[in-house]
Amino acid sequence: MNRKIWATPFIVWMVIFTLAPIVLVLIYSLTDASGAFTLDNFAAFLDPIYINVLLRSIGMALLCTLICLLIAYPAAYFLSQKDIDKKGVLILLFIIPMWMNFLLRTYAWLTLLESNGLITSAVNRVLSLFGVQQEVRLLYNYGAVLMGMVYNYLPFMMLPLYTVLSKMDRSVIEAAEDLGANRAHVFTRVVFPLSLPGVASGITMVFMPAVTTFVISRLLGGAQFKLFGDLIEQQFLFTGNWNFGSAMSLVMMVLLLVSMGIMNRFGDKEGGGVL
């Protein structure tokens, strides 16, 4: 009975730092600057300007998730095969970026993609060899933000996929071969269906942070390229309209809850293993 007491520090922590802020956000979103109840904050959000930014955020997050999946699945599948040399090193290479601060990594991309940065000057030099004189700009556009997002979130796709694929019972694959499945059939009928919980948690773990990001878009996208996270940040830090910012945060939270609900339908079978 009294074991409950051990959870007290955690409960206190959650109440102060999770529950209370959510309640505050809820209160702010439903009031105006004077503190009176209003739905104006949500009405204001329906402006096409904001809706477009939201749609762009969702679109970019979806694209980023898809690219991560397409890169990570074959890699995780390859790494999960037991007879690979230097497997540990390869896995380490995928995980090492996660050890470094997220901001640092994004700043690194900033310097690489600057107009006199390493990558940009290399690309321009190659292009000039082919007679293209116009200098390309790799920074402050859609592609740069997408690049930054994929780079940052790829490990989050990689890990659950690798976990589920490498935990997969070898004998299940052998059973399929034994029953007449060639390599393609083994993959489509057994390996892929059994890896779906990993796919689901990978998608969740990439989509969630991707749809809410604002640092990547600000650093690599510049002032013109805004995502939904940037809008919320702007309301709180620059415009000072906490009520509107809270309303937008709430919209985002609902969006995340819905997408989590969808993914859980695939991920509820055991073996998803977030990390």
Binding site: D169, S171, V172, E174, A175, A176, E177, D178, L179, G180, A181, N182, H185, R189, V190, P193, L194, L196, K269
Partner: protein, 358 residues
Amino acid sequence: MSVVESTHLIDLMGVSKTFDGETEALKPINLYIRKKEFITLLGPSGCGKTTTLRLIAGFETPTTGRILFEGKDITGVPPYKRRVNTVFQKYALFTHLNVYENIAFGLRLKKRPQAEVDRKVTELLHLVGLDGFGKRTVDRLSGGQQQRVAIARALANEPEVLLLDEPLGALDLKLRKEMQVELKNMQQRLGITFIYVTHDQEEALSMSDTIVVMKDGFIQQIGTPTDVYNEPKNAFVADFIGESNIMRGTMLRDELVEFEGRPFPCVDKGFGENAPVDVVIRPEDVKLTEPEEGQVAGVVQSVVFKGVHYEMMIRTDAFTWMVHSTQCRQVGQRVGLSVIPFDIHIMRRSVTPVEREG
């Protein structure tokens, strides 16, 4: 067991397997398996029995040697093209499919019409006693039921040979006994070859037409259960199959062996004179007598009631004998022991690889 046909279905010719260039799981062996035979590969873990099974299934390729199926070389043929199917140790069912689709897996790959799949799956569910279980998810089934699904799934492709890798290992004793009988019946009814891997000697003795005893990657003995039990080829087999008293002895001459510091008449010959041998005596073959009437005398160390008999440990000057008897003696009591010549089994000390005659 006259159903076993004499034609060779599978031949292993000088087949060996070395893992990662160093671990010799299987030394070169020669073995043939006949049609409709229930053959058991028996041995302790690491003896090479599972490796042999996996080589036949095609999951491993032999390091040396060839594997023939009905006389045709199948050494390099991948598993999905072999006419054998496997029941895995931990069943390896497809958890994303229900019972019906697990069993239908092989038929679907062959693109059989739905009506045929339906008929076949219903038939197999009946065969393994799981009528009406088709819609269940496999992870909700008990161990015994999962085992049955695994068997039905493997039989769906109508294999010539069913390979079973310790299939009853995870079941409790009672269920294991039931399944032993069922498997044996199934094998006879279907009229196909079963190759069965186990470390359980009792299981091997009660189900098999032929037992292949293995140790350290070598075949120690091949024979019928009666042969292997009554005429073990060496001390290892004697010890592994049932319980035995194994003593060091010296073959003085034909039909006379010395151990326990005295000569015993026996029936073996051809070992030469004064040859070092292992003497094997089954606990149930030792007769208890009055101390002065026995060939040797000893003191009872312990008595354990085993249901049908008493298991007694009896200490003599040179050895502690295990004796199974329906008569009970008291701990500390002095008793005599005697063994008739026929029950004294003499074995060479050295272990040599074995070939199957015929």
